[in-house]
Symmetry: C2
Subunit: 360 residues, 2 copies
C-alpha cells in the first residue's frame, strides 16, 4: 500500500499514454482531473491486488467513446459519481475500491480522480495492460466474467443500467447509447470480487506506467532507449509522419498514419493502422507488430507518447513494440483482440518472433 501524490500522477499520465498505444483519450485531461481531485481531497491510497479482501466489491470505471470527441467534451466527475451511486443501489452493496479498466490517457487517471473524490482506494491493476476499443476486450472477459450490470452515464444526468446476456451485447448497446449521448459517456462495469481481480486482472499496471513516465519525464535527452530497456520493448521504426487518413464513425476514431523512414529506416515507409488504438504496423504490407502486442508512438525529441488524435503531419517519431500480457496470447485472447477481430486479414505473430525473423 502506498499513496499516489502529484508526482506519481504525472508519471502515470505519461506512462499510461505510452501503454495506451495511442488510445484512451488525451492524457492531459485525465491528469488534470486527478491532480485537481487530490489537491482537494489529498493523495489517493493505492492497494496491491494482494491487499484486497477476496470478497470485497471492486468496480472499475472509465470513459467510453471516440478520443477525438473526448478531447472536446471534458469528462466531468459527476457522471462517474452518479454511476457509482446507481451501481451501489442496484447491487445493494458498498463499493470497496475502484480500478482502471484499461491503461490509457483518460481511463487510467479518471478512476484515480473518482477514488480521491469518493474516498475509495484504487488498485494497482487493470483489465488490459494497455488500451483497447471495446468493452469485452478485457482479461476478465477471457475468464468468463460478465460486465453486467453496466451503468452508463452522461454529463446531463442521463443514466442507464444494462443487464445483458453477454459482453458483446453490452458493447453493442452501450456503444450506441454513447453515440446518442454525444460521442462519449462514463461507464462503470465488470463489478468483481477481490478474488476475481487477483486472478483475472493485469497486476501492477499503474506502477508499470509510472515507471515509464518517470523515465520520460526526468530525461533531458531522448529517453527512448531507456524506455525500451524498462519495458523489454523493440524499436520498430524511426521516421516522420507524412500522411494521416482519419475518419470518426459509429463512435470510433479510425484511420491509417503513414511514416516515412529516417536515419536507419531511410527509404522505407511504415503504415500505422488505428481504431482508437494503434493496432497494426506494416512495412510494405509486411506486419512488424500486430495487436494484441503494443504499438507505441514516441516523439523523437521528448520521448513523449503521441496519441491517435495527437498525430500531426511532420512529427518525427519512433515506433516501438512491447509484448502484450500473456493472457492475450491464448486462443480466446487472440479471438477477442487479435488482428482478424479488427478486420485485418492476417495471423497474429508475437513480436519476439517477428523481430527474430527480421534479424535472420
Amino acid at each position: 500500500m502506498r499513496y499516489l501524490d502529484e508526482n506519481a500522477i504525472k508519471n502515470i499520465a505519461v506512462g499510461a499514454a505510452v501503454l495506451g498505444t495511442g488510445g484512451g483519450g488525451d492524457p492531459y485531461i485525465g491528469e488534470l482531473m486527478a491532480l485537481q481531485a487530490i489537491k482537494e481531497h489529498g493523495p489517493v491510497k493505492m492497494l496491491e491486488v494482494d491487499e484486497v479482501p477476496d470478497d470485497a466489491l471492486v468496480v472499475p470505471i472509465g470513459m467510453m467513446g471516440a478520443p477525438t470527441v473526448l478531447f472536446e467534451k471534458a469528462p466531468g466527475e459527476n457522471e462517474a459519481k452518479n454511476a457509482f451511486q446507481l451501481m451501489e443501489e442496484h447491487l445493494g452493496r458498498e463499493i470497496f475500491a475502484t480500478m482502471p479498466i484499461e491503461i490509457g490517457g483518460v481511463n487510467s487517471l479518471l478512476p484515480v480522480a473518482i477514488a480521491a473524490r469518493l474516498g475509495l482506494p484504487i488498485i494497482n491493476v487493470d483489465g488490459m495492460g494497455r488500451a483497447f476499443p471495446e468493452l469485452q476486450m478485457v482479461t476478465f472477459y477471457l475468464d468468463g466474467i460478465s460486465n453486467s450490470p453496466l451503468v452508463i452515464a452522461d454529463e446531463r444526468g442521463n443514466t442507464s443500467i444494462l443487464q445483458t446476456i453477454d459482453n458483446h451485447w453490452s458493447e453493442r448497446i452501450a456503444r450506441n447509447i454513447t453515440v446518442q449521448m454525444g460521442g462519449s459517456s462514463t461507464v462503470a462495469q465488470y463489478s468483481m470480487s477481490g478474488k476475481q481481480v487477483k486472478n483475472s486482472g493485469v497486476a501492477k499496471s499503474l506502477t508499470f506506467a509510472e515507471g515509464i513516465g518517470k523515465i520520460i519525464r526526468k530525461s533531458k535527452q531522448n529517453p527512448i532507449q531507456e524506455v525500451l530497456s524498462f519495458t523489454s520493448g523493440y524499436s520498430l521504426f524511426e521516421g516522420k509522419v507524412i500522411d494521416i487518413d482519419r475518419k470518426t464513425s459509429t463512435g470510433f476514431a479510425r484511420g491509417i498514419a503513414t511514416i516515412e523512414g529516417m536515419n536507419e529506416d531511410k527509404g522505407k515507409t511504415l503504415s500505422l493502422h488505428f481504431q482508437n488504438e494503434f493496432l497494426l504496423a506494416t512495412e510494405n504490407d509486411k506486419p512488424v507488430c500486430i495487436t494484441p502486442d503494443l504499438i507505441c508512438l514516441l516523439d523523437n525529441e521528448t520521448g513523449q507518447p503521441i496519441t491517435t488524435e495527437g498525430l500531426r503531419y511532420g512529427v518525427r517519431c519512433t515506433v516501438i513494440g512491447i509484448a502484450c500480457n500473456e493472457k492475450w496470447r491464448t486462443e480466446k485472447g487472440i479471438e477477442t483482440v487479435g488482428p482478424r477481430y479488427f478486420g485485418y486479414d492476417l495471423e497474429y505473430i508475437p513480436i519476439e518472433i517477428i523481430t527474430s525473423e527480421e534479424v535472420i
Copy 2:
C-alpha cells in the same frame, strides 16, 4: 370492475386496431397472446380508474419498434415479465396494476396477457386514446410525468434501466437500443400513482375499443356507418389503394399510401401519410384530417381495420376520421403530436372544423 373474457378480448383487438390508426403492430398477435394467457390463467380483472387506490403503483407496458418488424418477431411474454420484475426491484415496490400505454394492436392486448400471467388487474385507461410512435407522446407527458425509470427488454434476456433527464432523451436512447435489439423491444415505463393515472390518462379507452370491435365483429354487412355513429366519427374518403411507398428506417415504418376514389369520391385521390400510424390525410394537397385527430382505414367489405403494415395494393377501403382526446388539443399537446412535430408543414385544424368548412 369486471372480467375480460375471450369475447371481450376479441372485441378489443378489433376496436383497438381501429383506434390504433394503423399502428401498434399486428392486432392478431396481441389477441393471440391475450387469449392464450387467459386460457391458462382465467379471465383478467379490469378496474375503472376510480377503483384504483390513489397511492397504488401502476406500470404500463408495451412494445417499442417498427410494426413491420413486430410482425416477424413475435413478442414473447418473458421479456415483459423480466421488465416488471426489474422495475419492482428497482423501485423497491410491488406493482398494483398494469395498463396499456396506447390503444393499438399489440400494445392494447400485451398488457392484458401480462396481467393474466402475473395475476395483476388491468385498468380501463391508456395514455393516448389512440396510437402514436414515440415514447413521450402520452397524455402523462403533457402533465409533466417522467417516463424514467424506463425498463427495456428483449427476447434474448438483455435488459436496460434508463433514468433520463426528460422523456425525449428516453425516447432517443430507448429507440436506439430497440434498433440494436433487432427492431423491437418490450418497454415498462411511466410508473405512476393511481392518482396520476386518474388525472392524466385517457379513461375508458379499452371499453371504447371493445364497443367498436363488437360492432364490426357482429356485423354481417358493412358496419362502417355504425362505427361512425358510435365514435362520432367522419367518413372522409372511399376508394382503392393504388400505391404504397414504404421505407423502414431508424426503427419506424414510414411511407405514403395513395387511394383512388370510388363511388362518391370517384375521380379524386387521397394521400395517407404514415409513420407507424396514419398521421395526415390530404386530398390534392389539402388536408382532410390531421394528427392528433385519428385517421382510421377500414376494409369496405368487412369493416375490419387495416394497419400500415397490412396495406395492400387493390384493397377497397373507407378512411374515417375521429376527434382526438381533448388533452391533445392544448398547446403542449399540439407541440408534442401535432403535424409539425412529424415534419408536415401545416397548422393543426380540428376535424370538426375541416369537415364543416368542406360543407360550406
